[in-house]
Point group: D2
Chain length 159, copies 4
Amino acid sequence: MIQIFTTGGTIDKVYFDANSEFEVGHSVLPELLSESNIHEGYRLQELMRKDSLEMDDKDREIILNAVRACEYQQILITHGTDTMANTAAVLADLKEKTIVLVGAMQPARMRRTDTTFNIGFAWASVQLLPPGVYIAMNGEVFAAGAVRKNLKAQRFERT
Amino acid sequence: MIQIFTTGGTIDKVYFDANSEFEVGHSVLPELLSESNIHEGYRLQELMRKDSLEMDDKDREIILNAVRACEYQQILITHGTDTMANTAAVLADLKEKTIVLVGAMQPARMRRTDTTFNIGFAWASVQLLPPGVYIAMNGEVFAAGAVRKNLKAQRFERT
Amino acid sequence: MIQIFTTGGTIDKVYFDANSEFEVGHSVLPELLSESNIHEGYRLQELMRKDSLEMDDKDREIILNAVRACEYQQILITHGTDTMANTAAVLADLKEKTIVLVGAMQPARMRRTDTTFNIGFAWASVQLLPPGVYIAMNGEVFAAGAVRKNLKAQRFERT
Amino acid sequence: MIQIFTTGGTIDKVYFDANSEFEVGHSVLPELLSESNIHEGYRLQELMRKDSLEMDDKDREIILNAVRACEYQQILITHGTDTMANTAAVLADLKEKTIVLVGAMQPARMRRTDTTFNIGFAWASVQLLPPGVYIAMNGEVFAAGAVRKNLKAQRFERT
C-alpha cells in the first residue's frame, strides 16, 4: 500500500476565472492514477494546500508527523518544487520508510505538463528504492540533503 | 480576410513556474487555428497583454483606433471577459465592419478549456453576422450594449 | 433549441485496445458542449454509428426522415467527412430548416483535434444561417450541392 | 545513458483520416520526454512498427539481437501489450543489462492516455532495477516469465 500525502504546490493548481487566479484545488491524483489503470493499492490524504514558498517550520512539522505516524512503508509526498529540498532535509533522518517527494513545473490540468510523467516516475521509485528520503524530479532520483532546485535551469540537480 | 486583434485576457495565459504565476503569454491562436486546418485567410496583431480588469480608457482608445484603421471588414478581438462588455460598448458606434469580441473562462493551454469552441464559434460569427459589434460567448451571439457578464453564473447574458 | 443528430464518422471514434481498433463510440458532444459552458438549449439523438464510407441510400433515407420529422428549426448533423457532401445533396431540397453538417479529421478524443473548433463553428452557423442545407468544415460554410471533399488536400472546397 | 528501442504497438498510433485507420506513426517519445524536462541522457532507435499480434519469431530475433548488441546497460523497449510477455520471455536469459518492456492501452496522442504515466514509471524502473528482464505496466514491475496480460481485465498480472 502506498500512502500519498498532498501538500499543495503546482501539481494541483486550478485556474479560477472569478479571481483571474491560479490556486491549489482538490487533488487530481486519483483521476490521474485512474487514467493509468491504477484504482487501488494506495491511500491519499491532503495535509495542506500551500505554495511551497509559503511553507514554514510548522508546516514541515505537520508533514514530518504525518510521515512518522503513517502505518505504511511507502510514502509519496506531492510538494511545491521551490522548497522541496528543504522539506526533504527535514525528513532526512527517517530511516525506516521509503519516502519520495515529487512535484511539477506545470499543473496537471495543463494540456502540456510534466506532472503525469513525474507521478509515474515517483510511483516506481517509491516501490523500488530502499528506505530513505528522496526527491524524484526531471527523470532522476536524488537523495535528500544532496539536492537543490536550480532556479535558472528550472531543474533539480545534485549538490 | 479576418483580422484578429489580441488584447490579453484568459485565453493566452501561461503558467510560469518561476513566479508561481499565471500570465498572458504569446497568442496560441495561430496554433489553435492550424490544429483546426486553418492556415491562411487571416492576419493577427497583438495590441496588448492585459487582464481586462486592468484596462482603462487609454487601452480602449488603442483598440478603437486599431479597429477604425483596419482595412478588413471582419474583425475578431480576443479579450478578457470581465470588462468585455465595456469595450464592446466603446466600439458600438462602428457600423461598417463586423466586429466580434470573444474570450474564455479557461486558458487555451488547459487540458479542459472553452477557448477552442469559443474561437470556432466566433470564427463563424464574424463571417456570418452583418456589420456591427457583437460579443460571442457561451455559444450565443450578443449585440454590444445589450449584454453583461453575470459574475455569479460565470456566463454572459442579455440585459 | 438546436437538434443534434449524430451519425458516426470520425468525431466520436474511440480506441479499443481489445481489438487494436478505432471504432465509433458514444457521442462526446454533451461533454464537449459542457466544457464550453453549454448545458442546455439542445437535444441530441444518435441515428447510427457509421463510417460515412459505409453509408448507403437506406442510411441517408433515415437521416432525411429524421430531419423532416424534427420539430426544431435548427439542426446539426455530425457525419463522417468522406461522404458528407453526398448526404448534404440528399437533404438539399429541404427549405424550411437550417441544417448544418459537420465532421472532423481527428477524433474528439485525440489530444490534437479539429472537432472542438468545428463544433463551435457549426454551433454559430446553425444559429446564424438562413434556412437551407450547409456543410461547415475547415472554418468555412459551404452550400450543399456546391461542395466536395478534396481528398488530397484533406479539406472541403467549393465546386 | 538509457537506450530506447521502439517496436510499435499502441503507444505511437496515429489516426489517419485518409484511410479511417489508426496506424503506428513516428515515435512520440522524444516529445513526451521533452515535455517532462528530459532532453538528454538517452538514445532512441526504431526497430519496427508492428502491432504485437503481428510479431513473429523473426521480429523477436531482431529485438533480441538489438538488445545484445547495445552498448548501454539500461534498455527500455516500447511494445504492443498483446504479446509483450512473449517477447519478455525470449529476452529472459539476458542477465547483464536492465531491460524493461513497457506499452500502453491508449495511444500517447489521445487526450486520456496511460502512456505518459507508464513511460515515467518505466524510466525510473530501468534506472533502479538490477540487471534482468521486466515488464512495467499498470504501475507494477513484473519479472519476465512470470507475467501475462489478462485480456478480460485489460491489465498485466503475475502468473
